[in-house]
Symmetry: C2
Amino acid sequence: MNSIVTLVQRTTAATPLALAPLNATSLRDQAYTLLKNAIADTDIYDPQQELRLDERQLTTALGVSRTPIREALSLLEQEGFIRTVPRRGIYIIRKSKREMIEMIQMWAALESMAARLATSNASDEEIAKLRHLFDEFQNSPPSEHLGEYSDANIAFHTAVIALGGSQMIMEATKNLMLHVRAIRRATISQSDRAARSIVDHLKIIEALERRDTELAERLTRQHTLDLAAHVDLHCGFLG
Amino acid sequence: MNSIVTLVQRTTAATPLALAPLNATSLRDQAYTLLKNAIADTDIYDPQQELRLDERQLTTALGVSRTPIREALSLLEQEGFIRTVPRRGIYIIRKSKREMIEMIQMWAALESMAARLATSNASDEEIAKLRHLFDEFQNSPPSEHLGEYSDANIAFHTAVIALGGSQMIMEATKNLMLHVRAIRRATISQSDRAARSIVDHLKIIEALERRDTELAERLTRQHTLDLAAHVDLHCGFLG
DNA sequence: GTCGTTATCGTGGTATACCATATATGAAGG
DNA sequence: CCTTCATATATGGTATACCACGATAACGAC
């Protein structure tokens, strides 16, 4: 599972063989993808988690020079995943509660616009596929498969955004998703949110099917703003 | 200024140390800002315009090595301003009409969310300031000062977003603004858009003043979506 | 023992040399 | 002339050496 610790430990441990095929893309892009996935898979809100990165360590861990590592880190810094402090180190950023809420609000803005666009652009077939995402939860309540339901939940929102057809919105929400994913997973098990969530989703699907632009947009926005309000009330562990 | 003597005197004297902004920025950041401004000030849709950049040329022009230039270019590439093609060159990107429309739609999503948030977060005084942006156009029609009105127009939208209070949305729209600015300027003189624009703006301000969340959001969204539709119809010069 | 001074080191920032390869150039062959 | 192939060149990618500077430790004065 590609945690940062795992990456660094590879230095002393086994061979850094994982990056043998360097023919396809640049080392910078490979390092970027690798580091981004590693950060995404790290539970950065665990107080025990080490959040400091070291260029030289990453160099030996990935078997490349500092240059591509540094370029990859620059990109991650601009995306808000890390912060470099001269002569101190490079740190993975913990988002504050305020930042997390702002990201969710931004998500609400973009997904509701996507839903609006979807009522004009998406085909009936594409919209119908949304229902199948929840087929397996029709008979048994989602509380029994929280892990699977959480994945389906995220898949649903991603799918709605895809139906909007805007490459720009899809790109913008990809990074938001990485930041927000941990929160969605953590809150799905709180106060029966899973059951209420599935009701909201079905209403959104119905609105899309009926091509009710205003309703689809409003329901989508409100559903995600509810998450923001929930985080505001129940996620005190965030700074 | 900033002689050694001055610096030393500041140290020994008991002056309140208000001198935060010494040139603490890295060459990478300076190059990034410089290049970004240069690109923003370039009329990239002029067919005559040379769009190719050259790393080595930039190094001699800016008097630094390739390293910070390359890092700055990496950032600009990720933001969608340039594209580097291995062994071909680095090119400033012309946005296609589709991409331009998608950016405007995204702008509509974010600004309307900001307007929604503003009805809860902004103070009466802050909202009142919006009116002053158009004071100078009260008596004379904006068509007589298109340049100034265009600036006021952009300032208005930026101000609405600021009233929302979301740092995240403000950041995200900054780059969108750079891309869209040229289009806003170009279309303000078309088909009496300036006069209609000012009417829309006043309605938005009224909605904000009355704390009518839904209305402020809807008017803001529709105003910008109108621009998207206008670009779709009248900006054939875009790819 | 406490405080201040100095030496060393760790770290990110920068410059530069080198590399790989697509493209351009041009000479040779037809 | 045209085609073909070898060579040269340009350009982005990578590795590495060096630098500046803050932090920390080691040390000395009192």
